[in-house]
Symmetry: C2
Subunit: 239 residues, 2 copies
């Protein structure tokens, strides 16, 4: 009846073997992505991971801490890569300011690397990240704003050098739009069908997707500053 105890270990020293902890993380990553935080139960996660229900609380403490662990696992290295890459670009450019495209590529390339390196996990994570960005739960928003704080500050100063004519507050807004469009695009993948019915084969190709997003955002960042009240004027005319 006992499950063949004479088999001592099939892969005895494989450190990267699917431990209970990583099995939970992987399953949670996929399910949180698919259904969101609230709609995903620990029972669903542990069943998908093939582990006992109590293992989730044992290894991570609570459901919220598990969610944060899922995010940290990949977000932390990715943001570090982004800052490192930006620094590399700046060092290569010497005293000259970087172009917007170059700075944007420092944001996008680590995301692309993540999407292609790990076969399934990477793409799942980017989608999960995009959705977490829009989640109203305070503990998610607080966690993300803390995780992103350094990276955003770093890129803001880089963009400020690239766009010296732009007022500081205007730059902050545009940076906000950039992060929004990026998150939303990553989270998409089915709202996407609503607008772009063409070439469904490329819908899964994150690289082509970001190669279209980058020029769009670069142009937006470099747009001339509008005189305030122009939309207000438009509104008055048509009301």
């Amino acid at each position: 009846m006992s499950p063949t105890p004479q088999v001592k270990r099939l892969q005895p020293v494989d450190v990267s073997a699917q431990t209970t902890k990583t099995r939970i993380l992987d399953a949670a990553e996929e399910l949180f992505m698919e259904h969101g935080f609230e709609a995903t139960s620990l029972r669903l996660i542990t069943t998908a991971a093939g582990v006992n229900l109590a293992a989730a609380n044992y290894h991570f403490g609570s459901k919220e801490e598990l969610f944060q662990a899922v995010l940290t696992r990949r977000l932390d290295p990715m943001n570090r890569q982004r800052m490192d890459l930006l620094e590399t670009f700046e060092a290569a450019a010497g005293s000259k300011p970087l172009t917007c495209d170059k700075i944007l590529s420092a944001m996008f390339i680590p995301a692309l690397k993540l999407a292609r390196d790990k076969e399934t996990g990477g793409k799942n994570f980017l989608r999960l990240l995009g959705r977490a960005y829009a989640d109203p739960a305070p503990f998610i928003r607080d966690f993300l704003s803390q995780q992103y704080h350094d990276m955003i500050a770093r890129f803001r100063t880089a963009f400020a050098k690239a766009l010296p004519h732009l007022p500081k507050d205007e730059l902050s807004w545009r940076l906000h739009f950039v992060m929004g469009a990026l998150s939303y695009t990553l989270a998409g993948s089915d709202v996407l069908k609503m607008i772009a019915q063409y070439q469904p084969a490329e819908a899964d190709n994150d690289e082509l997707l970001l190669s279209r997003l980058a020029p769009f955002l670069a142009a937006g960042l470099m747009a001339p500053v509008t005189t305030s009240g122009s939309v207000h004027r438009m509104f008055q005319e048509s009301a």
Copy 2:
């Protein structure tokens, strides 16, 4: 003991008086916005509305149907206004194609009207809409894609006329980015603090917010088409 029955009716014919149904809708709009769909219980909604718990199921059938009713109440008229306004602009322009700014304003102005007309409900709804756009729940995504279908199709042809040089699939992507940035910006309001710490007083001013978003998006829409593989090249260089 009875609540002053001799007062026949204070506002006897006020059709817009707070009926149970609209009280539930108003409370649900605010609470769904604040906590999301899954994290908002019917008990929370009915308590906030000051009505009995069973009233929600009695008037709307289920929680999902209540959510859809909340969305339809304002989304339907807003999208109709958007299409009407676009038609007005096109009629005024005669045979000449509209500018991107003009088309974008046809998208934004009805949203602005909604945000300012009804004191609190409007802003709540825009935020709720932005969050619903990122919600993974299938019934929400299906509902929204159906609600937006006609409007998106209408604006796509308008943009196609304004940007005849743009390939059709490229336009679809950019339209996707526009909707994403718009939704995300409307949903923001606290992720916002993460990036734009300046002028917190204007953080609540949707008009100024959209007046900054519109030029950003117009520039993105009019960006030159990039040769494919440029991001791929960037990636290869830095890897």
